[in-house]
């Protein structure tokens, strides 16, 4: 049975072909990430510090500072983001607390509805709030004399849109409690409030900070919402859009984009450091905390969840309703006019097909790339020194780069006439690539977590058995990590379907995506068709999510024999 596999190798070779492939492949991935992430950001920086004549200097910054209203825009952006953070984080914290630390019926349902805002573009909230609180809105009286067009509307819609992002983080933060601490507190007969202040809050503090930073960054870089509902309230994100799309002033756009990039990047660097500190705080001995029913805690929380879910369903419901009403507010007959005439007949339905294509390709191409790169990084060997830290940094960077900033970097970089990749500009390909890069970090982290979760000696064993690492990737690693892979695909698909920020700078008439079409429809005042398009996106995302749940469910049932304790 002993096969002389060794003697067939030419003398002097030190590694098999597939073993030597890992380094160069990882290098290739690093180059791809550099081209589609670092270079556009570099182009952005260059564009900001070079004036029209090509000379270096801070002239553009000075010019920017001197522009009337810019100080106002900076201030507006800042205080709106702070207000949004101050509202969203407590709202989401109590909601997450209700899901994780109370005994509510239908826990899964509250969770799904809490995350429902992720299914549509951020504009859904803006459109729905115009309908609820606008001049003709049913709830206009709630705002008194204040117009919804302006900071009030921006804050409301951004709170709605950023809520699920905070919720996801806080649910995780509250889910990983150490039950022993509560038992100790109970043993010391600590009061409910004291337990909350001394055990719950400190346990979730990293989650809270993380959620606050994410919401702040979201608000600072969100531009669809202020564009739709902001009226004439100036914020930096819209300013970028006006400068770049409206006036094709790329240099000025680059300056504003840099101004946006810095606080967001800073927020994520802080967050990253905190996350690293947090990991060491959790011990393997922790006992998961299981809440016991207690109506004095559960009933108010149930009521709270009901209130919030009603509001969230109200937003989605209003968007759907708007899409069905024949002529708001004078003819409230229901019809499919907006879908038929507003979208299909007007040729805007192509945008939805474009989005399907972009989302499909993003998931189809992005998932293998992300997973394979993570695999090369975690399980492979070889490549020049410093390559692995570089790839890790490149994979973490997109989290700190607002899509808007990435989009402008792409314009500046790929639209350069001297760039050999110039041909990509305005194509579907570049939009797919931009989307993959924009949402790279969470996908990468999912892949890395999955890869770290499996035995780290698989590669060593297969090497000893003379099996190529790629065979082991295909036969073992990939099947074991399949749930994570599907999760990445779903995440990429839904985000590609709903994102506006990077794509708004990159589309051409043939590649107009649905989410941007909403923006354009709204700009033309076509709120009905805009709502119809938003509803289509939400339905598509919901379908994909459902499909994902179904597939994972089947997967776990079929692999019951070996997928134990993996869920």
């Amino acid at each position: 049975m002993k096969v002389a596999g060794l003697s067939t190798l030419p003398p002097g070779r030190r590694a098999t072909f597939s073993e030597r492939l890992g380094g160069p492949l990882l290098l290739l991935a690093a180059v791809a990430l550099a081209i589609f992430l670092l270079l556009p950001l570099g182009a952005l920086l260059l564009g900001a510090i070079r004036d029209d004549a090509g000379a270096f200097g801070l002239a553009r910054f000075a010019e920017f500072a001197a522009t009337p209203g810019m100080a106002t825009a900076v201030w507006n952006t800042l205080w709106v983001a702070l207000a949004v953070t101050a509202i969203t984080v407590p709202l989401a914290f109590v909601y997450a607390y209700a899901i994780e630390r109370a005994c509510l019926p239908l826990r899964g349902l509250w969770r799904i509805i809490g995350l429902s805002a992720l299914l549509g573009p951020s504009l859904v909230g803006a459109i729905a709030f115009i309908q609820w609180f606008g001049t003709q809105g049913v709830l206009k009286a709630w705002l008194g004399e204040t117009s919804v067009y302006g900071p009030v509307g921006i804050v409301m819609a951004t709170v709605y849109a950023s809520f699920p992002h905070a919720l996801m983080i806080l649910v995780v933060a509250l889910a990983t409690a150490d039950g022993r601490l509560y038992e100790a507190a109970d043993a010391l007969s600590a009061s409910r409030w004291r337990k909350f202040v001394t055990v719950t809050l400190p346990g979730a503090r990293y989650g809270l900070i993380s959620a606050a930073l994410v919401v702040f960054a979201y608000s600072v870089s969100e531009f669809g919402i202020p564009k739709v509902i902001g009226g004439n309230f100036q914020v930096l994100a819209v300013e970028i859009y006006v400068q770049v799309v409206g006036q094709h002033n790329f240099g000025r756009g680059a300056v504003v984009a840099l101004l946006l990039l810095l606080p967001v990047l800073l927020a994520f660097v802080i967050d990253w450091h905190l996350q690293r500190r947090q990991q060491s705080g959790l011990t393997a001995r922790a006992v998961p905390y299981r809440p016991r029913p207690d109506w004095r805690r559960d009933l108010p929380l149930l009521f709270y969840c009901l209130l919030l879910t009603t509001a969230m369903l109200g937003v989605l419901g209003m968007a759907a309703y708007t899409s069905l009403v024949r002529f708001w507010p004078y003819n409230l007959e229901l019809s499919l006019d907006h879908y038929v005439y507003g979208l299909a007949e007007a040729g805007v339905l192509d945008a939805w097909l474009n989005s399907l294509r972009i989302a499909g390709l993003t998931a189809l191409l992005g998932t293998p790339f992300v997973f394979f790169t993570a695999w090369l990084l975690e399980k492979g060997q070889g490549g020049p020194a410093g390559l692995r830290p570089l790839v890790r940094a490149l994979a973490a960077l997109p989290m700190g780069v607002p899509g808007l900033v990435l989009g402008i970097g792409y314009i500046l970089f790929f639209n350069g006439p001297d760039n050999p990749l110039n041909g990509l500009y305005h194509t579907l390909t570049i939009m797919v690539i931009a989307t993959i890069v924009h949402f790279y970090t969470p996908c990468h982290l999912t892949a890395v977590t999955a890869l770290k979760g499996i035995d780290r000696e698989f590669e060593a064993v297969s090497a000893s058995l003379k099996v190529s690492p790629f065979v082991t990737l295909w036969r073992v690693t990939l099947p074991v990590c399949l749930p994570a892979v599907l999760e990445i695909a779903r995440y990429l698909f839904i985000n590609a379907m709903t994102t506006v920020s990077a794509l708004v700078f990159l589309y051409s008439p043939e590649t107009l995506p649905a989410s941007v079409a909403i923006l354009n429809l709204d700009e033309a005042g076509e709120l009905g068709p805009a709502a119809a398009m938003a509803t289509l996106i939400v339905l598509t995302s919901a379908t994909i999510s459902l499909l994902y749940s179904l597939v994972t469910h089947l997967l776990f049932r079929r692999h019951q024999a070996w997928r134990q304790g993996q869920r």
Binding site: Y149, N232, A346, G347, R357, L361, G525
Partner: protein, 343 residues
């Protein structure tokens, strides 16, 4: 669920998606930049393709200000072959930048001589006129007890504070023609004074010229400073609006067509330019606009008065083009920070 099956079905899905991408036949592809309304593009394209099936038009559509900025930004390496349905005031700017290819379309002689640029061979040719109109929501007027509107000056009444929407001239061609009309009608100083006061009453500046009338139609804001085509369609959809043509006179601009200098598809570009001056094309314009380039075709729009053409102000495109940058910069300086009304 076997991994191989999943991968296989994903691959099939991928190919299906790829196959669904627009296939390019052996056609001349003409890149046309336009500010025409989306709902007009389709009809024009279909009619053109009936006689020229070998030419495929790829539209790049945006509002006037944006298309103008885009063309100027791409000056060094133009992506457009033809500019169609863009304001004459912008064409003047392109002409000054030597971006346009002089060409006399086949039917030039049949057109009203006002609908062309000066010079022996025109660089741009007009298609139709679009001009200012005010959409006034009557239902809201009655509900809120607002005064009647007959003139531009009526808009300055304090009752209208926060009730008026108008397009931002930086992005909207309609906004620009309003501003230039006021400056030409009232004179420079009085024009800016008027806008200063109007600014006090404006609720929102929109980026598109269509949105104010749509918003007025939906009662979101009762008064929208708009243009007659959109006013007509909004009204036709059943919105309770009156279309008002202020008595001082109406600002207007001319949708026009031009060939971009240096285009590699000059022949196809000429064909489109020729078609745009045909009777057939003018009949299509006339469905949307009261005043078109070919005399004697214009049919009255249902909600636009017969004497519409006489109400238009005297317009100097050269002046508009020459001062475009300065006017927009001044406007931006004065009104871009609406959030803090000047005391």
């Amino acid at each position: 669920m076997n991994l191989k099956h999943i991968v296989r079905s994903l691959a099939v899905a991928g190919f299906a998606l790829a196959a669904a991408l627009p296939a390019h036949a052996d056609k001349t592809v003409l890149n046309v930049y336009t500010a025409l309304e989306t709902d007009q593009l389709k009809a024009y394209q279909e009619a053109f393709n009936k006689s020229h099936p070998d030419i495929e038009i790829k539209w790049t559509r945006d509002s006037t200000g944006i298309i103008t900025a885009k063309l100027l930004a791409e000056k060094a390496k133009p992506a457009a072959d033809v500019i169609m349905g863009v304001a004459a005031s912008s064409m003047v700017v392109f002409d000054r930048e030597k971006m346009l290819q002089p060409y006399a379309p086949a039917n030039l002689k049949a057109l009203n001589p006002r609908f062309r640029s000066a010079g022996a061979t025109p660089t741009w040719v007009g298609m139709d006129v679009w001009g200012a109109a005010i959409c006034y929501n009557v239902a809201e007027m009655q509900k809120q007890g607002l005064p009647r509107i007959e003139s531009w000056k009526d808009l300055l009444k304090p009752e209208f504070k926060g009730k008026i929407v108008m397009p931002n001239p930086n992005s909207s061609g309609t906004g620009f023609l309003d501003v230039t009309a006021w400056l030409q009608m009232f004179g420079e100083k009085a024009g800016w004074d008027y806008m200063d006061k109007l600014h006090e009453n404006i609720a929102v500046y929109t980026h598109s010229g269509s949105k104010p009338c749509v918003m007025a139609g939906a009662g979101e804001f009762p008064v929208g400073i708009a243009f007659e085509y959109r006013a007509n369609t909004v009204r036709a959809k059943g919105a309770p609006i009156d279309i008002i043509f202020p008595k001082e006179g109406l600002g207007w601009d001319m949708e026009s067509i031009a060939i971009v200098k240096g285009t590699a598809k000059l022949e196809a570009a000429k064909k489109l330019s020729d078609w745009a001056t045909t009777r057939e094309a003018n009949e299509l314009y006339a469905k949307n606009f009261a005043v078109v380039a070919m005399p004697g075709i214009a049919t009255r729009l249902k909600y636009v008065p017969a004497d519409y053409e006489q109400r238009l102000v005297k317009n100097d495109f050269e002046w508009m083009g020459k001062n475009r940058d300065a006017i927009l910069a001044e406007w931006q300086k004065r009104y871009s920070t609406k959030s803090e009304p000047k005391k």
